[in-house]
Amino acid sequence: MGKRGYWLKEKLCSTFELPKDIVLDVSKVVIIGAGQITVENHKGLIEYSEELIRINTGSGIMKLCGRNLTIKNIIQEEIAITGVITNIEF
């Protein structure tokens, strides 16, 4: 997908109000409080420890810092993490 293609899709999304995470293949991050985070549409785990988790997503590598991080669930489309989250970085 070229830069042009991406631009076109984004335009399309905003005009027709389509959900971006489906059309653009970017991830959808849902944070509930500071204790749980769900990343849909991820592209795999890069690094995992109790304090740091790095996840590959459509829009770059997502870096999660915190304490006592555990992976509650991990399947193809979704990854759910619980623990005390302090930092989210892209």
């Binding site: 795999g44 690094e47 995992y48 109790e50 555990t70 509650k72 991990i74 193809q76």
Partner: protein
């Protein structure tokens, strides 16, 4: 997610420990191969604890080889393991289950009848009456028609005015209310006289209806007519009425007691022996009764062995407690003997005095001889001695 968890529980899952340098790759490969792992927690730099479905466990082998890690099972959970456990200890669980069933069945019977509210009616009689109507120890709760039993008992026992049967656990609680008092023997329409119930000296005669035959101060004998219901007047036909009167008279009560100075007293030595009997329903299991003491006091206690609040089962332990006694010859002092005499006389005279009697005087006399003390007591009281008697 929740349904998946339940599914996993039903299928059984294992907690595994993965060791290796490429943990992330291990997880990613598992995800790609559709192996569901959850609750992943890092223990240290190279170790991870996770949960995995039992069926998927074998499929990990390829990933383990690829990532150069090692997997070990920490523990296994879920329904299949519980079932396997139960199967392995079949006998134990069968006994446990049958015990529960047994207790359930046992608790659907009545094992104890408790009677409340009895004052003067014989409890045995009520129990007999209840037994005759089908409520007894060991009768099935479901078949009891409480209303019917209550009605039948009330019909058969006119001395009760109300009966309520309540079933709580294995207890049947029977509450009864007795009729307050007997109906008067002579109805107010019948003519009657008033006669003396005992000897005495009249102190106050209050006649409400009828003609008095005696005056205050008259000494009367038992059975003497005090008030007549037959009224005779000049120029009038004789008339008969229902006499009513309060006859307060002085009466005497006497009693005597003799206490010898030489007394044999039984004292406990402190030696106690116990014997037990087991009572199952109406069957008793007991050893031979043997008491090694010559003189003893026996105490019998019943205890319910199995009881949970209102659920009482018919297993009873009966304890016989024997207390050894030793006879001891004791010589009483005169004062002691007198005190004892008085104590006994007091207790006895209290039983003799009617309710509502007013004590006017009490006299105690002691007579001493070589061997004993003799005491007499006489009590003078005021009481109502009038009793109605129907005119023939």
């Amino acid at each position: 997610m929740f349904t998946i968890r339940i599914w996993n529980y039903l299928r059984g899952y294992a907690i595994i420990i993965v060791k290796g340098l490429k943990i992330e790759r291990f997880i990613n490969l598992a995800v790609v191969n559709n192996i569901y792992i959850w609750d992943i927690k890092k223990l240290d730099y190279v170790t991870v604890k996770a949960k995995i479905n039992l069926g998927n466990f074998r499929r990990l082998r390829d990933i383990v080889r690829k990532t150069d890690s090692s997997v070990s099972v920490l523990s296994k959970h879920g329904l299949p393991f519980i079932i396997r456990n139960v199967k392995r200890r079949k006998l134990f669980y069968t006994i446990l289950l049958s015990l529960f069933i047994f207790i359930y069945i046992m608790s659907s019977f009545v094992w104890m009848i408790e009677i409340k509210g009895v004052k003067s009616v014989d409890t045995e009689k009520i129990v007999k009456c209840l037994n005759a109507e089908g409520l007894k120890e060991g009768s099935f709760k479901g078949k009891l028609d409480r209303r019917h039993i209550e009605n039948q008992v009330l019909i058969n026992m006119p001395e009760l005015s109300w009966i309520g049967i309540q079933i709580k656990g294995t207890k049947a609680i029977v509450e009864v209310v007795e009729k307050k008092e007997k109906p008067p023997l002579i109805s107010r329409d019948d003519a009657c006289d008033i006669v003396a119930a005992k000897d005495g000296v009249i102190t106050k005669l209050l006649v409400l209806s009828g003609d008095p035959l005696v005056k205050d101060g008259t000494t009367v004998r038992k059975g003497q007519r005090l008030v007549t219901g037959t009224i005779l007047r000049e120029n009038l036909e004789p008339r008969q009425v229902h006499s009513l009167a309060q006859v307060i008279a002085r009466t005497w009560y006497e009693d005597a007691e003799e206490i010898p100075f030489q007394q044999i007293e039984y004292k406990p030595t402190g030696n106690i022996s116990r014997q037990y009997r087991l009572k199952l329903l109406n069957k008793e299991f007991s050893g031979k009764r043997r008491v090694s003491f010559k003189d003893f006091n026996e105490n019998i206690k019943e205890r319910d062995l199995i009881s949970f609040g209102d659920y009482v089962f018919p297993v009873k332990l009966i304890e016989h407690r024997f207390e050894e006694l030793v006879p001891e010859l004791k010589t009483l002092m005169i004062n002691e003997a007198k005190e004892r005499c008085l104590e006994r006389l007091d207790a006895r005279i209290k039983l003799m005095l009617p309710e509502g009697a007013v004590i006017l005087n009490r006299n105690t006399n002691y007579y001493l001889n070589k061997k004993s003390v003799k005491a007499t007591i006489s009590v003078e009281v005021l009481e109502d001695i009038g009793v109605k008697q129907k005119i023939q």
